[in-house]
């Protein structure tokens, strides 16, 4: 489980949000707050727009849904998908589940971590790539798999994953 760092810091205030981020967060809340069970759709929409759910957006969300900040924080930190820190320019998710293990995913994971010099939930120092684990992309008949910026790549070899990483670094 991702332990968001915010719990040990002083409470984030919505004034910490950049004006553009604040506009996005408020627009999302305004659009979705009347849905039954609106919190997950709101968090998805915020992350889709900003790349993460900024801790400073928590008071705004809590206010919009009549929840406590603790409740909102509790939901964000429960789900692996939601990030509290901005990711790098690319997000690379490596499948760690059994079907991929059976086809060499452990070696790919070790290679990528070694090459990028980061572990899971970390971002390379040039901010090109954030590395995340994922447990199954539903591509299990053509394993091993990764998802790069929302696109699944299958039948991977270490060479193929290196080419994906090369492209991320070049584009950056």
């Amino acid at each position: 489980m991702t332990l968001a760092a915010v719990s040990n810091e002083s409470p984030a205030h919505d004034s910490d949000l950049a004006a553009e981020q604040r506009r996005h967060v408020l627009a999302v809340i305004g659009e979705l707050q009347d849905l039954p069970g609106a919190l997950l759709p709101i968090l998805h929409a915020i992350q889709d727009g900003l790349g993460h759910v900024p801790p400073a957006s928590v008071p705004l969300i809590a206010h919009g849904l009549n929840l406590t900040r603790a409740e909102v924080h509790g939901v964000i930190s429960f789900y692996h998908h939601f990030r509290s820190a901005a990711p790098g320019r690319h997000v690379l998710q490596i499948c760690r589940a059994e079907a991929c293990q059976a086809m060499g995913a452990r070696a790919i994971e070790a290679h990528v971590c070694g090459r990028l010099g980061v572990g899971f939930h970390e971002t390379t120092s040039d901010r090109a790539i954030t590395l995340e684990p994922v447990y199954c992309l539903g591509n299990c008949a053509c394993a091993p798999s990764v998802m790069l910026d929302g696109d699944v790549h299958g039948r991977l070899t270490i060479r193929a994953v290196d080419r994906l990483i090369d492209a991320c670094i070049e584009k950056s």
Partner: protein
């Protein structure tokens, strides 16, 4: 004359390059002045052949695969638009033995139709079940589902009709149909294939469930690891609504049913039904105590039918063809068909829909063709990360809920992950505990703490530290988790752990320093 070419828009086909193939076919056709219309179908589930390009010929649809972008020019030069011979040609796709020998009920349209084309859906038997359902009383629909013997395909195998009957009998101002599409088990992709290949089937099944139980609102809880399925399904809902198949008055029948798709957020536990309901309500996905059953107090405290994608997608055919027709497939108490998914280290991975009763051996060798690596198959895990690891001596077990239960295993959602002889089963046992620790919702102690302690104990056994005592401790811990956990996550994690330990004890034995696996 225009030639129709099918190139799948399916996650796996795309992951293997289908988008570039489709583009190249378009470019080549244009450059050669040929009239080609490219249709993006779902996948047939013959995944080792993806991207599988199909050309419509007078003899049927001829398949070529796996096609790479670079192979497209060669296909044109060989005359593939006339179904000509080529190294990648497989003849008429319907005649490929892997497919021809299947009993495709739930997947009858997958890969054949344009998934979003309503006319295509109807021309291939779509909406027949719903049109029959609107003529029947709710009681009669429920009786059909009961008589069919359909059991929940998500893994628990609970009789679907019993759930529906309970919701039908419950009094409430609002009831819900919830579709569990949090297909988190590694080695499974049949739910995804429905979304990407035949989405109206699920819409039809949910609408029938709504009419049968008096529920006017449906939610699909889809995992966020399936972004393409989400986009396609949202579009399918909009088109179905615009055509009057869902909405305030379904095709003038007086029945109302609305549908919405929601995304999960990467929590495996949300495949557990009560945890899923919590998540839909906007909360942490923590498991609820039962009772009350979701059928009586489910989503937002209202009576709720919650079924897996395949369960709901099986319903239209049951209504269209009758309960007996469905019941005639299968063995013992496992009726109908199961879409089995062959995955991992397997030569011909893909979807095999067959009546219950087929043996694992037939699946692994007749369909699967053995391991992808060419090495002997040593272990298979059936039923996802909570399913047992089975050795070769158990490969004759038939796919049947009770037969699997009898060997301390489970059929689950029908996923089979294959490992060759390079696997370290102690490492797999450790991963089972690690996964449980990562995904535990934290509500009950045996799962939350037990899984972490489980990783530690297995590490000590693998390091040969106080082996006998730690082995006894592992068994005792598994006993506590099995009997003391609130839900299947903690309760079933001992399945993969103990099956690995019992069937592959040599992997837990002290390692000789010089031995290299």
């Amino acid at each position: 004359m225009s030639t129709t070419v099918y190139v799948p828009r399916d996650t796996t086909a795309l992951a293997c390059g289908a988008e570039a193939v489709a583009r190249a076919i378009g470019t080549q056709a244009k450059a050669r002045g040929l009239d080609v219309s490219v249709v993006r179908n779902g996948s047939r589930g013959l995944y080792w052949l993806e991207p599988l390009v199909e050309v419509v010929t007078p003899n049927g649809r001829v398949g070529y695969g796996p096609v790479t972008e670079d192979a497209v020019v060669g296909l044109f030069e060989a005359g593939f638009l006339d179904g000509a011979a080529h190294a990648l040609a497989h003849g008429v796709v319907d005649d490929i033995p892997y497919l021809a020998s299947q009993q495709r009920l739930c997947f009858s349209r997958n890969g054949i139709i344009d998934p979003l084309d309503l006319d295509d859906y109807q021309a291939h038997g779509g909406w027949k079940g719903l049109l029959r359902a609107v003529m029947l009383s709710p009681e009669a629909i429920v009786q059909n589902v009961l008589d069919s013997g359909l059991r929940g395909r998500g893994g628990a195998a609970f009789p679907a009709g019993v759930k529906w009957k309970t919701v039908l009998g419950a009094q409430a101002d609002q009831k819900y149909i919830v579709c569990n599409a949090d297909e988190g088990d590694s080695g499974t992709f049949s739910d995804r294939m429905v979304f990407e290949g035949d989405p109206y089937r699920l819409i039809e099944g949910m609408t029938i469930a709504g009419i049968a139980t008096g529920a006017t609102m449906g939610y699909v809880y889809l995992r966020c690891e399936y972004p393409l399925a989400f986009r396609l399904f949202r579009e399918a809902i909009e088109r179905a609504r615009a055509a009057g198949w869902i909405g305030a008055d379904i095709k003038g029948s007086g029945h109302a049913f609305e549908l919405e798709v929601r995304l999960g957020a990467g929590a495996y536990i949300c495949g557990e039904e009560t945890s899923l309901l919590e998540s839909l309500e906007g909360k942490r996905g923590q498991v609820r105590f039962k009772p009350p059953l979701p059928a009586l107090k489910g989503l937002f405290g209202k009576p709720t039918v919650i079924n897996n994608v395949i369960t709901l997608a099986s319903v239209p055919d049951i209504l269209a063809h009758g309960a007996e027709w469905y019941r005639d497939y299968g063995v013992a108490r496992s009726r109908g068909t199961l879409p089995i998914q062959l995955a991992g280290n397997i030569k011909r991975g893909g979807l095999v829909e067959r009546a219950f009763g087929l043996s694992l051996r037939e699946l692994l060798y007749d369909y699967g063709g053995g391991s992808a690596s060419g090495r002997p198959i040593r272990a298979v895990q059936v039923g996802g990360p909570l399913g047992a690891y089975l050795p070769e001596s158990q490969f004759d077990t038939p796919i049947d809920y009770e037969a699997f239960a009898a060997i301390s295993a489970m059929v689950g959602h029908g996923g089979i992950v294959v490992f060759d002889d390079s696997v370290d089963m102690a490492e797999q046992a450790r991963f089972a505990m690690e996964f449980c620790a990562i995904e535990s919702c934290g509500k009950c102690t045996p799962c939350r703490i037990g899984s972490t302690r489980g990783v530690e104990v297995i590490d000590r056994i693998r390091a040969s530290l106080d082996r006998d005592n730690n082995t006894a401790l592992l068994r005792s811990l598994c006993d506590t988790m099995s009997n003391g956990s609130l839900c299947a996550l903690g309760g079933l994690t001992p399945f993969p752990v103990l099956s690995a330990k019992n069937h592959f004890a040599e992997d837990f034995a002290p390692r000789v320093a010089s031995s290299v696996k």
